[in-house]
Amino acid sequence: MTTTLAQQPAASAAPKQAPAVGHSGPVEEGRRSTTAIPAFVRTAAARAGSALWKSAGIIAFLALWELGPTYLASPSTRVFLPPLHEVVAAWGKLFESGTIQGHLAASLTRSVSGFGGALVAGVSLGLLIAWYGRLNSVLNPLLELFRNTAALALLPVFTLLLGIGEESKISIVAYAAFFPVLLNTIAGVKTVDPLLIRAAKSLGLSSLALFRKVILPSAVPTIFTGIRMAGTASILVLIAAEMVGAKAGLGYLIVNAQSSFLIPDMYAGILTVSLLGLSVNFLLVALERHFSRWRTAVGSGS
């Protein structure tokens, strides 16, 4: 938000300058004067403009949230839909008392351990399965079955077997994150360009070197797509698991606030969940982009 506001004057200054010069001469001159405006001003203006445009939806939504309950909703509905400022105030209070940090920490610990375990297991098992074609044909139907069984449907099973403690929650997060990682790892290895494998073999690379230097790097972008999907899935499942039975965590905060009739607190919890999801996705997208740098413009060239 602050950057958008700071760049606002530049954005309004740029269009004013161009017509002023353009008046004095023909169209061509006008165009030349546009290039005379420092490039950074123009890019900054363009960026500010597009940022404003992109955030228009969010701003409209927040405005509706703030004003809607007061002016549009009936008094009884208003109780369940507090305006934005009340939610923000509740969030501030929860933050001051350290409640929100505590729940966030509990959720993060669970998701990081579950997600991390799934990552290690999914990638290594995926590489193994893809490398041994036989194993793949045996396991594929089974994997399809598991993948299409919604993780949440298994929540009661996990709870029965592992109790309502940390183990069951970490396990179900791991389960939900495992399949996207596993399946994308297998797909990544299988879709390696056969020409590159021929080239590597002709260069005298051993099987191990071929795997490490050709198959793995070319599978990395696909694996990262799986990791990003796993990130989204693990948060979803975690919140649900915490809602069903937990003594801490964001999911617990939300249902607990609801049953204690602390409606603004409930929305504060929901807001925290969306922010957490956003930042996890942002982080994973950035990582994915970093590891797929070499892929930019591939396909347009050769």
């Binding site: 056969p194 020409l195 590159l196 021929r198 080239a199 590597a200 073999k201 002709s202 260069l203 005298g204 690379l205 051993s206 070197a209 230097k213 050709v214 790097p217 070319s218 990395v220 070499w294 892929r295 930019t296 413009a297 591939v298 060239g301 050769s302």
Partner: protein, 316 residues
Amino acid sequence: MAAKISLRNVTKQFTVRPGKGSKASRRSQDSQPGAAGKTGTQEPATLTALDSLSLDVRDGEFLTLVGPSGSGKTTLLDLLAGLSTPTSGEVLVDGRPVTGPGKDRAVVFQQYALFPWRTASANVSIGLEGRGIDGRKPNRRERAAKASEYLKLVGLAGFEERFPHELSGGMKQRVAIARSLAYQPDVLLMDEPFAALDAQTREQLQDELLRIWRATGKTIVFITHGIDEAVYLGQRVAVLSARPGRLKEIVDVDIPDRDGEDDIRSHPAFVEQRHKVWTLLHDEVRLAQDAGHRKILPDGTAPDEIPGTTLERSAA
């Protein structure tokens, strides 16, 4: 003098699944008696890509190989590279049978086959990352120095840190050539390496390849479908027949004062020998077309050329 590369009665057959109707019936002429005629059955058929081919390549020779599409040129190169094994016959390099890929041979592919996640320098040095001929592993700095040396040889000094997607087609192929030279093989196997390049870049690279060949004394087997290219580069031009590939004839290219400044392509001797190769090939191309042979790459991609047109254009 002993031959560097020696092919003795080499036959290569592929097992193919007779799928989509018409193709199976076309192939039935190559098929084993059992599968012949049974169009559309799931019984595997045999396709003969190379039929009892014998050919010697001298040490330090530049041999070009032409043949209609689907005549088994790539199949032959794969056998030489050790990427596949012959159904029958022998493939010898330095008198020893080829059992797999080796550091004495290098391949340059038409589609460059650079590793897109590696810089030009890292692509060139990938063949140096294992143990060298002297049995010791060169360290990172030695490899980078070697890569620079070979990038310079192909005219790409200063492009070490570029990724393949930042290079033009001609530059990519230069990197691929540098990569194949860097581990100092005796034999360079090239499969239509300049076919995807524009005419100007192609001529430029042809001259550079000749320069590199003279400077390094490698044995080069160069596959092409351009008759001009074959006669311009090769000391001998081997012409393959339409499928199944047999050696039809070897044309000795004898052009006086090759190193002169003149336009060799308009030299009477060049014109004469090009015509000879053209005639040999033209019959085969017509044969191939009549038989309805279509080029199907091993990876299943569509034909990249219409048989005949390229040949006629380059001969015109």
